[in-house]
């Protein structure tokens, strides 16, 4: 049932043409009216956009955010999905792991639609990115940069932006482990992981991001939103603050019956060493391991 509704929704979305606001190639919004209104419709297609992972540990979120948004861009053409090229440096891979296609599929991003390029040198991801952006048959290009390589300067990003404008391909530049650098990006976002809305039994919920508009050539910047990505709807949703109350994380414990000693024992033991066989009375079944 819900599957059918979900499909209908997708169909509806593809039937309604994306609105253009005087931009040559149109725009793609977040699906969140508040943000889209602020951006005057959404992110401009065929323009360079940048995301900064707030901290290195937020790189997965930054990837997820870009993949989710790219999925909105690639999914626009109902006749045939155009491929996305994703360029990563080996350096990023050793820091945050490899791109896992099943995980991308979990975000609604079809890995069969992805061409993945792995390069070693910063100069290479730039030239590969430029080459890909020039290929008119792509939906978008995600370029991940680690740190602030000197090759990735204002001129290089301007080159990317110009190539994109010419070809209609939307490039995303993902940056991490660096402060803000000068660039020709049309919008710049900071992406950080945010606590998700818990599901049943306090399970982690949908991917949730704190996004901050750091720069916006077409308007004001500095705004922040907390958004959730819903892969089944294919759109973002604003996250409400009350959703994010952190519950206590001991669902399985419950209160001990009064008067009875707790079962188990609480001992902090160094990893890989046996627990001393002491029948400590105050105990809970936790154990330090690993």
């Amino acid at each position: 049932m819900s599957q059918a509704i979900h499909q209908l929704r997708r169909q509806l979305e593809t039937l309604a043409p994306s609105q253009t606001y005087g931009l040559k190639h149109g725009q793609v919004g977040f699906g969140v009216s508040e943000i889209d209104a602020h951006l005057g419709g959404g992110l401009g297609l065929a323009m360079l956009h940048e995301t900064y992972a707030a901290e290195t540990a937020d790189m997965a979120s930054s990837s997820g955010f870009a993949a989710s948004f790219m999925q909105r861009i690639a999914g626009r053409d109902r006749r045939k999905k155009r491929p996305v090229v994703w360029i990563r440096q080996t350096m990023s891979e050793s820091e945050t792991g490899r791109l896992y296609p099943h995980g991308l599929a979990g975000l609604g991003f079809d890995p069969a639609n992805l061409i993945f390029v792995r390069v070693r040198q910063p100069i290479h991801f730039l030239s590969a990115g430029l080459e890909a952006v020039r290929c008119t048959s792509l939906a978008g290009v995600i370029i991940e940069a680690w740190g602030a390589p000197k090759e990735l300067d204002l001129t290089a990003t301007r080159r990317l932006a110009l190539a994109a404008e010419k070809s209609g391909v939307t490039p995303f530049l993902l940056r991490a482990a660096t402060d803000e650098q000068p660039s020709a990006a049309f919008t710049r976002w900071q992406v950080a992981s945010a606590p998700s809305r818990a599901l049943e039994a306090n399970a982690p919920g949908h991917p949730t991001f704190d996004i901050t508009l750091l720069r916006n050539k077409a308007g004001t910047h500095g705004q922040s939103w907390r958004v959730e990505w819903h892969h089944d709807l294919g759109q973002f949703q604003l996250s409400k603050p009350e959703w994010n109350r952190v519950q206590s994380v001991r669902p399985r414990l419950g209160k001990p019956a009064p008067g009875k000693p707790l079962s188990g024992r609480v001992v902090s033991v160094p990893a890989r060493q046996p627990v001393a066989a002491s029948g400590s009375p105050t105990a809970s079944p936790f154990k330090r391991t690993g």
Binding site: A60, S61, G64, A67, S68, K80, P83, V85, G97, R98, Y100, P101, H102, G103, L104, A105, G106, L107, D110, P111, A112, L114, I115, V117, R118, V119, S127, A128, E131, C135, S137, L138, A192, S193, A194, P195, S196, L199, N202, A203, P204, G205, P207, H231, D232, V246, Q247, R252, L253, G264, A271, R272, Q273, P274, P285, F286, K287, R288, T289, G290
Partner: protein
């Protein structure tokens, strides 16, 4: 012992022992034999001989066999070809002896064992008389047989040929008789070429050597057009293109590009060649110029002219294929990848990378063997968050965790020296090892999706079940969620 021209003039002969030679010529300079260098030089020679015919075989030690059937007229006849070859070799400072004959064995015997002459052409039918005076060693047989025949008073091939063959075969084996028949020109064999014969080859020779890169590229482009016409007649396209640049001094440089779809369109191939030249680790060195350019097209396959549909979809596929080829040429085929799913529960094996260039073929075989290609990348149920991480570590990273026993999620854990307090958790998702694969397939893993207080989501697992498999299971971070 091998000897140089100068040594020969002093009366030394090949095969002499070093001590004897030293005794005769006290100031002798002797060097150890370097088989690798000899081999490398011979390979260079063979490369150089590629200019005459694509069928070249090594004949060690120190020999090269060329099958020039149907090639000689390109050089103005056998004599002219031989002269050209000889002249080039002498220019390069080599002493060579050449012979042209109807069978490779005859030519080999004459080139190696004729004394005095450095050049010979044996007309068909005169093999037997020509080789008659050569020593029996010219047959290329074992030293023992050679010695035995000599002891029997048979010194030349002529002596041997005059004998009835049956007793010879009975005494020395049929190998000797076969060799004899081949050297006498009674039996012909074809040589085994060093490089496989490409299905389509075009070449261009220059009276004046060319050296400028632009000229080289223009010639390659011209050759591609020529090859395309040949391919068009056969209804085929090529997937690998190799340009061989023959330098006047004999060095040969080969440039090779590959495409993911069979093609015969000049422009994309040219772009790949330009790319290849730009990314060469050692740039093209024309030296005194190239006097022969050859283009070989390999891996030919039926080529269908893409019908450009109204919406231009076919064009789009070609565009993407061209991009893949270009990036592949520049960074290597292993750098441009696509993902393929696999039917396994072990997360790190559930997907693998294949070069994007091979993806169409791969996909074809894959979907044929597994009847549900659409399930390859299953999205989670609507309303459910992703259950697999977007980033995964190739090798799970060990963490220190505090967790409830026996199978609770971690409460807090330390990863890369940072302490994470778990705020939400879901699990375990138990993944048993694939015991049918190997003896030590590992331990059962209990995976948990956890989120820390800052909102970062991790995929962690405990390796081993308490008390059943291990007393002290380890904890690992395996992936990061968006």
């Amino acid at each position: 012992m091998a000897v140089s021209r100068e040594a020969m003039a002093l009366g030394l002969t090949p095969g002499l022992t070093l001590a004897d030679a030293r005794a005769r010529v006290p100031g002798l300079v002797a060097m150890d034999r370097d088989r690798t260098a000899d081999r490398a030089w011979l390979e260079l020679m063979a490369d150089f001989c590629d200019r005459y015919t694509p069928l070249v075989a090594l004949d060690e030690p120190g020999g090269v066999l060329l099958d020039i059937t149907g090639c000689a007229h390109l050089f103005g006849g056998e004599r002219a070809l031989q002269d050209d070859l000889q002249a080039r070799c002498i220019k390069a400072g080599m002493d060579v002896r050449t012979a042209i004959a109807a069978t490779p064995d005859t030519a080999r015997a004459i080139a190696r064992f004729t004394i005095g002459k450095t050049q010979a052409i044996i007309p068909t039918g005169q093999e037997a008389e020509t080789v008659a005076t050569l020593p029996i060693a010219a047959l290329g047989i074992d030293r023992d047989i050679d010695l035995a025949l000599n002891h029997a008073g048979l010194a030349t091939i002529g002596d041997l040929a005059a004998r009835p063959r049956t007793p010879l075969a009975a005494r020395f084996g049929t190998g000797l008789i076969t060799k004899l028949a081949r050297v006498l020109g009674e039996e012909d064999i074809s040589i085994v070429p060093r490089r496989p014969l490409p299905p389509c080859t075009v070449e261009r020779r220059f009276g004046e050597p060319i050296g400028r890169q632009e000229d080289v590229l223009a010639t390659i482009e011209h050759l591609i057009e020529q090859a395309a016409r040949m391919l068009e007649k056969r209804g085929e396209g090529g997937k690998s293109f190799e340009a061989s640049l023959f330098r006047t001094d004999g060095a040969v440089r080969r440039l090779r590009v590959e495409t993911s779809l069979p093609t015969r369109a000049g422009k994309p191939i040219m772009r790949l060649f330009r790319e290849r030249i730009d990314t060469l680790a050692d740039p093209l060195d024309p030296g005194f110029g190239y006097d022969l350019l050859r283009l070989s097209v390999g891996a030919c396959a039926p080529f269908q002219q893409a019908q450009t549909s109204l919406d231009g979809h076919e064009m789009a596929d070609e565009d993407v294929a061209a991009l893949i080829d270009q990036l592949g040429t520049r960074y290597g085929k292993q750098a441009v990848l696509r993902f393929v799913g696999a039917q396994t529960h072990i997360p790190e094996r559930a997907a693998y990378e294949v070069p994007a260039k091979d993806y169409p073929d791969h996909r074809l075989t894959h979907t044929q063997s597994i009847a549900m290609p659409d399930l390859e990348w299953a999205a989670p149920e609507p309303g459910e968050p992703p259950n697999l991480p977007v980033h995964m570590f190739e090798h799970p990273q060990r963490i220190e965790a505090l967790a409830e026993i026996p199978d609770g999620p971690p409460l807090k854990f330390r990863w890369r020296r940072v302490l994470h307090e778990v705020a939400r958790a879901e699990g375990p998702q138990r993944i048993a090892p694939e015991w049918w694969r190997s003896e030590d397939a590992g331990l059962t893993r209990d995976y948990y999706r956890v989120e820390d207080t800052k909102g970062r989501r991790f995929w962690v697992f405990r390796e081993g079940l308490y008390s059943r498999e291990t007393e002290h299971p380890g904890w690992f971070v395996h992936g990061l969620f968006a």
